[in-house]
Amino acid sequence: MARRTTLRLVAGLAVGVALLGGCAEKQEASDTLPSAGAAEPSEAELPPLGPAEFPVPDGAREKTPEGALSFARYYMSLGKEIGAGSVPAQSLRDLSVSCPLCQQIAASYEADQQSGYTYRGFTYTFKEYGPPLVTGNEAELGFVYSQSEYVVVDASGREVLERSGDASGDLQSGMLLQWRADLNSWLVSSLTVG
């Protein structure tokens, strides 16, 4: 299988040239990154997607590795918003397709929202292993996800200990995304957490 080398940062001089120049004058290290890729359609052209209170960012609606990563970050950030009660849990269903774990997570959040529960102190971290691999209409990426300890409270502000959670620690996780041209967006087609 042919591979295409994509260096994000490449030294500007060939070794031989640098060898000659290096002995004659001081050289500064190259430590700048190239600019972002080609421009995508303007943001104004995209119809809204996701919950109105927390829509899918336009940067996550690009069929690029950066767009896929942005969508993955967005999807994993929804939990914090849902837990805070500011976003309906249905969002997790709407932005996934044929993803059983997504449905399971959404159902759990929906049950909590129906019970009037909200999450306090919920934070998370998301660290990708590298850029997503985009092949055709599919993207895959691996990442480390972790959740903080958090407290669930009911509508009266009373702590619900049986629904509160401990810190998860680092969880090796993965996600498959499917590009939907009709939505001009990615959707989660498979999710594994831990």
Partner: protein, 300 residues
């Protein structure tokens, strides 16, 4: 009381549109219980029955002269095959104990020739069709949650990913040129010469699963805060593709390799492992020196 599917048309209609509930509560995105699904293939079953309140159970132990055979397909796959698109309502969770596997599936049935040469609904039997042979077309019966534990469904992509994360993948080492100390102004070339493809055969619930791991991305930590990313393992000078210029100093460089994978179950079609994993290679330490020009008298 157990009822076979063939005699429960009314019950089928009542169950159409039934929405399943969750497996159980999750803590945020962290859910307990097995995340085992039958994957994207079609499952065959000899018998489907309702066992208990609303629980559809598939198996391969059919009573004698059972009039139908069955196949189970994911709604998305079923809709796609019919020229439709996957729909949000195709995704439903099924209540299931921790030691069971259940999935929201489309049930299809096909008539079997009975021992007396007839069919259960009186459909004509083609000449020469023997008892037990399937006749006619597959007919969609319902979409519902089905307990498929007895069918021993093949490992799902997510299940394979869990194994993928535990594989002893190579920790590719950083090779640097020039060896030893570098010079300011002379870019240091990085490459790795370790294996970039590894094949593993693992046993998952009795299935032979072949996993091919491929190093798909290389992240070079140069030691001065710069991170280079390539999809190529690099090569020695003069075919190098990864290099970096340093200021004078001592640096520790290392390589993080991102592995993607494909898998096949029992020699079947290959599919992508849904996710990647990484390995960190041993770091290398080197100094970069500042060379100064000195005029000398060759006759001195």
């Amino acid at each position: 009381m157990k009822k076979s599917l063939g005699t429960l048309a009314t019950a089928v209609c009542l169950l159409l549109g039934t929405s399943a509930t969750a497996h159980g509560a999750c803590d945020g995105y962290v859910c307990d219980g097995p995340q085992v699904t039958p994957g994207s293939g079609t499952l065959d079953a000899s018998y489907i029955e309702i066992s208990g309140p609303g629980g559809w159970v598939a198996g391969n132990a059919a009573p004698d002269a059972h009039p139908y055979t069955y196949r189970l397909t994911s709604p998305c796959q079923f809709d796609t095959a019919a020229g439709d698109t996957c729909r949000a309502e195709d995704d439903r969770l099924c209540p299931v104990p921790p030691d069971r596997v259940a999935q929201f599936l489309v049930i299809e049935q096909r008539r079997l020739v009975l021992p007396d040469g007839t069919t259960a609904d009186g459909s004509p039997v083609p000449a020469g069709a023997t008892p037990g042979s399937p006749i006619g077309a597959w007919e969609a019966v319902t979409r519902t949650c089905v307990d498929i534990t007895a069918l021993n469904p093949p490992p799902s992509p997510g299940e394979v990913f869990r194994y993928f994360q535990t594989l002893p993948l190579p920790q590719l080492a950083t090779q640097q040129q020039p060896p030893g100390n570098g010079l300011v102004g002379l870019p240091v070339v990085f490459h790795t010469d370790g294996p970039t493809t590894q094949t593993f055969s693992v046993d998952i619930r009795g299935f032979d699963v072949d996993i091919v791991a491929t190093a798909s991305s290389f992240t070079w930590h140069t030691g001065d805060g710069t991170v280079l990313t390539s999809t190529d393992p690099g090569a020695p000078y003069p075919d190098h593709a990864v290099s970096h210029s340093y200021r004078s100093g001592t640096y520790i460089a290392a390589l993080t390799t991102t592995w993607s994978g494909t898998f096949s179950v029992d020699g079947g079609a290959s599919a992508d492992v849904p996710g990647t994993t990484t390995t960190d290679g041993p770091p290398v330490t080197f100094a970069v020196l500042q060379a100064n020009a000195v005029l000398t008298d060759p006759y001195d």
